[in-house]
């Protein structure tokens, strides 16, 4: 068998590398000359060139039209949703958090030694308790007193009140977080 590096017949591998332009320069020139004098080699080279071109040009698979949108929705899920959609999606979490927040408020307002003025201060400071809500608290407070005796012991002290107010603030932030984009407790990307 003739060896390929003697300026004789190139192998298929060499013809492919000739087409790719990855053949060593010396051998490239030899193969170029051989191809120039052989119709069969010319056809072989043309076949590999066409195959290369076809693979490059004709076989591209295009994803669906909304592909980019789908990817971006995965990446930025909350930025594309309306406030109402976010509220609806997080309604169960919101409900639970508001319930906890209300309970804290009730306990603070109805604790022993708590006057109506104290309750009003709390109401004003949170700014989310309306007059109607306050009267509802008063109605329920009698009922809650008997169930919340241990908590009242905590609220009787000022440090206990601070603790509960801190807890209330925490849940408030959680609500904001749920609705406005996972800003505080979730990080999407670290730079």
């Amino acid at each position: 068998m003739k060896t390929p590096h003697n300026g004789l017949q190139p192998t298929q591998q060499e013809l492919m590398e000739f087409v790719d332009g990855t053949l060593p320069p010396a051998r490239y020139r030899e193969v170029e000359q051989l191809v120039g004098h052989s119709r069969r080699l010319q056809q072989e080279v043309a076949l590999f060139q066409s195959m290369r071109k076809m693979v490059q040009m004709e076989t591209v698979v295009v994803p669906s039209k909304k592909f980019t949108t789908h990817v971006m929705n995965e990446i930025l899920p909350l930025k594309h949703e309306s406030l109402w959609m976010r509220l609806a999606k997080n309604s169960s979490n919101l409900f639970a958090m508001i319930l906890v927040l209300s309970m804290i408020g009730i306990v603070m307002v109805s604790g022993p030694g708590t006057t109506k003025n104290d309750a009003n201060i709390v109401t004003k400071s949170i700014e989310s308790y309306s007059t109607a809500y306050y009267s509802a608290l008063e109605t329920i407070s009698g009922w809650t007193k008997q169930f919340t005796q241990p908590v009242h012991q905590v609220t009787a002290t000022s440090s206990g009140k601070f603790f509960l107010m801190g807890l209330a603030a925490f849940f408030l932030v959680m609500i904001v977080d749920e609705v406005f984009g996972k800003k505080f407790f979730h990080t999407r990307m670290k730079h």
């Binding site: 013809l15 056809q43 076809m54 004709e58 730079h191």
Partner: protein, 195 residues
């Protein structure tokens, strides 16, 4: 001046996350082709590609600026598709039942009469497309990375983790499969014309 991939990546890392859509648009077609060549199923390929883009976004802070975005990203696409193939129990990519040598040399037969081939015809393009679609994924993947993505042997090695000899060998075999399919088709056509 044309915005480079690296410019877009910098914008994304600076907080302009929507700029990532530009990267997706730039690379989705070639990456989809790679996913399709590996998974042979449009739905699976699109799902895998979406997953790959999301993973790439999350991994962007760790982007190696030395390599190009496509090479880095194709590695993610390749890994996601490999995992999908493993789940299907179809992972043949790392099978070793083939020659590992990088010195594949087959002499061109000197006496075979090659048929006249219309290289630019739709027929030719259809045969190539069909052959790639039905080709084993270990071959069509290398073929796609080499031709479509225009990657070097070394880049393909870094993406697939295969030895250089295996990459060259698979590329050679893939092209021989295409060649055989084209020649067979046009020989049959010529025989039909002669009869």
């Amino acid at each position: 001046m044309k915005t480079t991939d690296n410019d877009i990546i910098r914008r994304v890392l600076d907080g302009d996350q929507k700029a990532y859509a530009e990267l997706v648009d730039r690379h989705k077609e070639k990456a989809m082709t790679l996913a399709m060549r590996m998974l042979k199923n449009r739905h699976d390929a699109e799902e895998a590609l979406q997953d790959a883009f999301v993973r790439a976004f999350r991994a962007l802070p760790g982007f190696e600026w030395k390599s190009s975005f496509p090479t880095w990203f194709y590695r993610i696409v390749f890994n996601v598709c490999s995992t999908a193939l493993s789940k299907r129990g179809e992972m043949r990519f790392f099978s070793i039942d083939e020659e590992q040598g990088d010195d594949v040399k087959i002499e061109v037969p000197s006496d075979d009469e090659e048929p006249d081939i219309a290289f630019e015809s739709k027929e030719f393009s259809a045969i190539v497309r069909k052959e790639i679609e039905t080709m084993e994924e270990s071959y069509s993947t290398i073929l796609t990375l080499f031709f479509l993505q225009d990657l070097s042997y070394e880049e393909i090695v870094s993406i697939t983790g295969l030895p250089l000899g295996t990459v060259k060998n698979r590329l050679f075999r893939a092209r021989m499969l295409l060649r055989t399919a084209v020649l067979r088709h046009f020989s049959d056509m010529q025989q039909m014309v002669n009869v």
